[in-house]
Amino acid sequence: MTTYYSEEHEWITVDGDTATLGITQHAADQLGDIVFVELKDQGDEFSQGDDIGVIESVKAASEVYAPLDGEVVEANETLADNPASLNDHPEGDAWIYKIKLANADQLDELMDLAAYTDFIG
């Protein structure tokens, strides 16, 4: 499994034609204490750049943008009751979506860990 990173501070691990998407620890740290998460439903389709969810911290509301085209296979429902888990394990148990990729070529537009580490400086 390879992990890809977007400039919007999301990570994606790909396993065949399904992938898991979340936000990076860096994003979670920048947002601060996360208190509310609003997600798309199973079966919702989206295109690269679409707003596919909202994460609110004590500070502000932030959109989650789709890093590529796809369809929601599963939204992590534990986040609604425990939004703070996104601060604690954003790259583990607090993943956001399982998605079906519509266009795997779009993965090439994303960064690997080394590039992302560089990106966040």
């Binding site: 601060g32 204490d33 208190v35 509310f36 609003e38 909202v54 609110e56 004590v58 500070k59 509301a61 609604a80 939004p83």
Partner: protein
Amino acid sequence: MTQASRRTPLYDLHVELGGKMVDFAGWEMPVHYPLGIMGEHQHCRNKAALFDVSHMGQVLLHGDAAAAQMETLCPQDFTTLPQGKARYALFTNDTGGILDDLIVSNAGDHLYVVVNAALRDQDLPLMRAALTDVTVTELTDYALLALQGPAAESILAPLCPAAADLTFMQTIQADILGSPCRISRLGYTGEDGYEISIPNDNATTLARALLAQDNCAPAGLGARDSLRIEAGLCLYGNDISQTTTPVEAGLSWAIQKRRRTNGGFPGAEIIQNQLQNGAPRKLVGLKPAGRAPARAGVEIQSAQGAKIGEVTSGGFGPTIGGPVAMGYVSAAQAAPGTDITLIIRGKPQPATVVALPFVPQNYKR
């Protein structure tokens, strides 16, 4: 930014403590420290927190006529304000709107006034024009620290024994660490606490001495905002403005009896009429039923779907453990218990009108 950011005397300390600095009203201020907004908020409610509020405007009014002439700008009673007492006040305009909110203290031979940071350039000329034979001096060589929380007295008293004897809205001059300070028992969090005006040169030393105590943590503007919303306290520019009257804003309590009867302040006719007959809309507390925070600008609808107002302040209340908001609704919908609907990102979310504050005020009376 149209002008270069200004820094308070505590700037270097904020950076040293890991403060995340942001522009606020033209000042570089910490929005939070490594503890985070939630932790800083809880620290203030449970123990004590130290805020730098040096960006606010501190003004001295010298002259026998100061109290009487300030009454031509504000619907408050200053001429009978006892020495050593502070009072919440408002500058009003001719349409009964609010130009700023401020604290006026009777310091014996002068009035000590604290105004909002963003409005000093409005307020100073306003006072200079209206106050004749009164010297209006901005106190630029003094910092202002707010020590807030139930442990505030036990933290400050070892450095300033007289502080322990003050009750809510009392103010004294006293030395702290050898420098002349003004200590006032008030704040903007709903908790017991103090605001300490101290010469710039000694501000960092005092801040370090207070923070050296276990119960005291630094807190930034983020926690200051969530604390004041839970306490039901208005923020100028959000909850009160030139187009909201004191009566609409639920600030009738701040207008003393003689002023209600006699008037003699800008907008008196409109404000007196509203005091008598009620205002068409009211600032109320709003408790969303779900978890989604309702922030400023969110539309408020009646249960029947008619627009009745807008959220003016809102977010997550750490002590409440859920979203809290304030906003204006039409008077008919303003009773606590009224079901309303908030339109958050286009989706209707149920909420209820509640009495303010969300968290009981914990002042030392």
